[in-house]
Symmetry: D2
Subunit: 337 residues, 4 copies
Amino acid sequence: MIIILKKDADKSQVENLKNWLAARNITPHVSEGAHETLIGCVGDVAKIDVGLVQQLSAVESVQRIQEPYKAANRKFHPDDTVVDCSGPKIGGGNFQVIAGPCSVESEEQMVGIAKAVKAAGATLLRGGAFKPRTSPYAFQGLGKKGLELLIEARKETGLPIVTELMAIEHLPLFNDVDVIQIGARNMQNFDLLREVGAQTKKPILLKRGMSATLQELLMSAEYIMASGNPNVMLCERGIRTFETATRNTIDLTVIPVLKRLSHLPVIIDPSHSTGSAKLVEPLAMGATAMGADGLIIEVHNNPPCALCDGAQSQTPEMFAETMKKIANIRPYAWERS
Amino acid sequence: MIIILKKDADKSQVENLKNWLAARNITPHVSEGAHETLIGCVGDVAKIDVGLVQQLSAVESVQRIQEPYKAANRKFHPDDTVVDCSGPKIGGGNFQVIAGPCSVESEEQMVGIAKAVKAAGATLLRGGAFKPRTSPYAFQGLGKKGLELLIEARKETGLPIVTELMAIEHLPLFNDVDVIQIGARNMQNFDLLREVGAQTKKPILLKRGMSATLQELLMSAEYIMASGNPNVMLCERGIRTFETATRNTIDLTVIPVLKRLSHLPVIIDPSHSTGSAKLVEPLAMGATAMGADGLIIEVHNNPPCALCDGAQSQTPEMFAETMKKIANIRPYAWERS
Amino acid sequence: MIIILKKDADKSQVENLKNWLAARNITPHVSEGAHETLIGCVGDVAKIDVGLVQQLSAVESVQRIQEPYKAANRKFHPDDTVVDCSGPKIGGGNFQVIAGPCSVESEEQMVGIAKAVKAAGATLLRGGAFKPRTSPYAFQGLGKKGLELLIEARKETGLPIVTELMAIEHLPLFNDVDVIQIGARNMQNFDLLREVGAQTKKPILLKRGMSATLQELLMSAEYIMASGNPNVMLCERGIRTFETATRNTIDLTVIPVLKRLSHLPVIIDPSHSTGSAKLVEPLAMGATAMGADGLIIEVHNNPPCALCDGAQSQTPEMFAETMKKIANIRPYAWERS
Amino acid sequence: MIIILKKDADKSQVENLKNWLAARNITPHVSEGAHETLIGCVGDVAKIDVGLVQQLSAVESVQRIQEPYKAANRKFHPDDTVVDCSGPKIGGGNFQVIAGPCSVESEEQMVGIAKAVKAAGATLLRGGAFKPRTSPYAFQGLGKKGLELLIEARKETGLPIVTELMAIEHLPLFNDVDVIQIGARNMQNFDLLREVGAQTKKPILLKRGMSATLQELLMSAEYIMASGNPNVMLCERGIRTFETATRNTIDLTVIPVLKRLSHLPVIIDPSHSTGSAKLVEPLAMGATAMGADGLIIEVHNNPPCALCDGAQSQTPEMFAETMKKIANIRPYAWERS
């Protein structure tokens, strides 16, 4: 952290500032230049509130030099993290496609879709049992029953299952789940993050909030990791922009950017981001070309009758076609050098 | 809900659509015009997924006519809601100022600030015991001890207390709290909303998410109200924009807009939105002129030493000055006609 | 400008950097600390491309210390600029209301509205002769004929006139105009800015682009001022956000922020920002309370028949009522201390 | 256009509305349902101001059914437009890479880079002679001299040239230019759009404004086309979001979306959008996989010494490597079905 002093800061103000820093175990190194005086701060500056320093009477401006995340930071962990999802591995060159319906609806539906996506090449099965809905009057998911149906579909197909956890009191129900998803709206539900870090070692698929910056996403990953669970995967599912032609705007640049900043795997969700089944294929192809570690795609056997988000669900036929196109591109995918 | 059919929709497609609607207990009323065919939908359309209808083969576009919120809707509850905060009333012409530090730090601090803000005219006391922080390494609040200090400050001053709840498992600790705050990052933590609706009747101060629309804010209020708690107050605390000169951009237009859409009180937070103590006064004055039902302002006896957010805290002296200026403007505040 | 070096930067890289700076007449002052090495840069750093420095091999990060605008900067011109608009003065404690229709339509309309707004207390008259429309098929304004009608209305009422210039080749037609408006969509039409700076000394009302930062707005003012015209007024007319309940979101915080950063007057446009006549009054009241130097309000004698933007136009009766409410608040308006 | 009436609209209000429509040559078709009354509007509704209708006393809400653009609309021109750029064709299956420096600096530089990018496979040459800069103190381009150097580079290599026009009075200097670029900041400089439509038939590369919606981009294309020039290419160069890790956020979803809405070619600019040379390659690969009709990439022989935007320029070596990776992916690119 570097503090630039005001030109007209007097000695007593500067003395106060140095004492203030010292009280926080920060050692100040003063460099007086012709035009400005700088204070380099040595110590555990991660705990200092930058906004607060900025208001001190002697201070012109402040700059952090280091990222505030450590466990998630590529600088301190140069090798890619590889997450083992009960068999399939994600990251470090391992690419997987997670597929399935938005909501679990019935055994017939889940087993049917699971078989279809497996046949097309998916290696993990997704499905929502607890659903975050903006309206209290909308279908909220089958809950515990939904988890049972997912497990049934895994028995039939062998595909590990991925499903969303919305409240920590439901965690005991997730014992048989393979990968726990934290949704975009809970990305900064810090109590939930801390607990999935402390209470489990299962892989966590952490979705980026709709207006979150990448640093905020990485800080949320840091909450989980700092609490004891290193198995975090980052998922881009579209951000909010002014564009209305799609539901959200997927930010594919996050793939190379996150891979530079962090060692965690990056998964792209082309279904939620667009809200349109027809756009899933080109986005999945783009994400693959840009080096994503995985995709999570909604597939439904009968989209017009889906209880939620049918509009963005591919049919099994569309999904199979998309998987072929992805396979063509995957050998030429971008790799971080 | 009105469905506009594609020009080239054939009879069987339209028949399918009508059956699809009928299966959902919606009665379709078809109007064939020279240039387009419309279907007016009668029934409980709130449960229909608009995105899904939009994907059906015969459909050109769909439009909702009614807002998806009911309990929070001014149309169905024309009179202003007045929320009783253990004495002070908010809404329906009643204006209150809530003040206090960002975080509870010590008894001396809390009691000192409580006395100062009371002397300046504040009628409720705020203070954070559980703090949402983007970094797991930052000060997370005093927790239970913080709640005890708040209660101590209430004993000394008589000011009812407002404090944030971050996880439903902490609710039992909030028995002696007067007003429960739900923070911006939890605005769409639907499980938490449902439970503060079902498990308590205490007033809820619901903060708008940093990128939430007003409809989303009202839907979150609806979650609380639909679960049984009608005592909801809406709070604008600044939205994220491209501007970097302030931390967030406060959207004061929400005051007249929310008052037209809803009967719930509207509170403005000029402290978090700007991140700068110097901007609190002009924003508080603007919000008052525009007819806010209340303000929530951070005050700290020693801002440079505050454990969090000192940068945006007024001193008691600044706060007293601001209260005088607000009092000048309040008689001329805008009223909904 | 301060450059922070990478920890592993070697001597030759640092030597290269110093030479690179020297070639641009920048004198580097190196401060070696225990944990980082900084280079303070002395010279005309405004001409240095920060992004470029950031890419140099030895550089960890770069920070500008000074704002890139000079003529518009309060630091170098501590006193408020007062702009003389052919009689009425704006800024430095002088407050004016500009009113009139979105588009000039006919002599009867213009003279009628001009008399009405003058009677209500407006001191300048607005009206669009050249109209920026998103559709090439929409009404584009009366052009030269519109300017003539504005001048006619001025003759009848004595109100100076404000109207928009869209292309520099039209400037000769604006000889009799009192204040030239540059619209939000042209805020970064740099050729136009440069020419209204070089070819005229008339006051320029510069509207903020819909997604522009305040620094960008000030840089656009700087273009005009650096070309020779110091008579610039800054106008907030609403920014684009995710909110759909209003057309744009007005950012009233710009009033105290711009007054701290710059000495130029700040005008608020509550009509375009909301797109709704009913919201103009509360916004005008809020802007007044927060210390705006002026307001620009759309008024139309028959809004439903206006050729453009009738939806946001007040009637003369509404405007007169709003003027009274503003007058109540104005004595208590916030002032920069 | 469909108008939904208020439930409590009385007969005289509805009669007024019908007269208001009739006065604008719109024939209203009324459909009275059990729960709502609709008016389908037949006629040239493109000229009606929706916001205005929405304010009429009888009106609950209004919905446009048709897009407001015609010439640019895929519905009316189902076949892809193929633009001939003095030899190389873009669109309808033809893919081209435009490359060159941000700014033209010298003959040596231009000819050197032109030869390098040609050798790597680029088929058009870019270079800025007139530069839009946010600061009046920054390098503004070589102007006329820059155009001459571009033409010189074309002579040496045969590559057609693409360069930006900022003011219509410069058009006579562009006689020898092959493709005219309209920059993001001028996307809604309607006078400039109209004139490049009316005064030339040269291909226009129209860049999307930093916060523009796709409909606004298409309306700007419509301005050019309605004025007489059908040779428009749409270019995504990144939009403004809250992310700070990159300069802008490129929205690659525009490729499939624009191709559905319009028949015009879609070009992606991975250089300006990221502001970082290292991100150009993965973005170029993603854009290619998603079916872009072309790319425009900044290449500089000595990025650290570039007079502007060196930070985002690839070296000729990096560019050659990127071209190879693009060539691998191109055979598998997404195609609209």
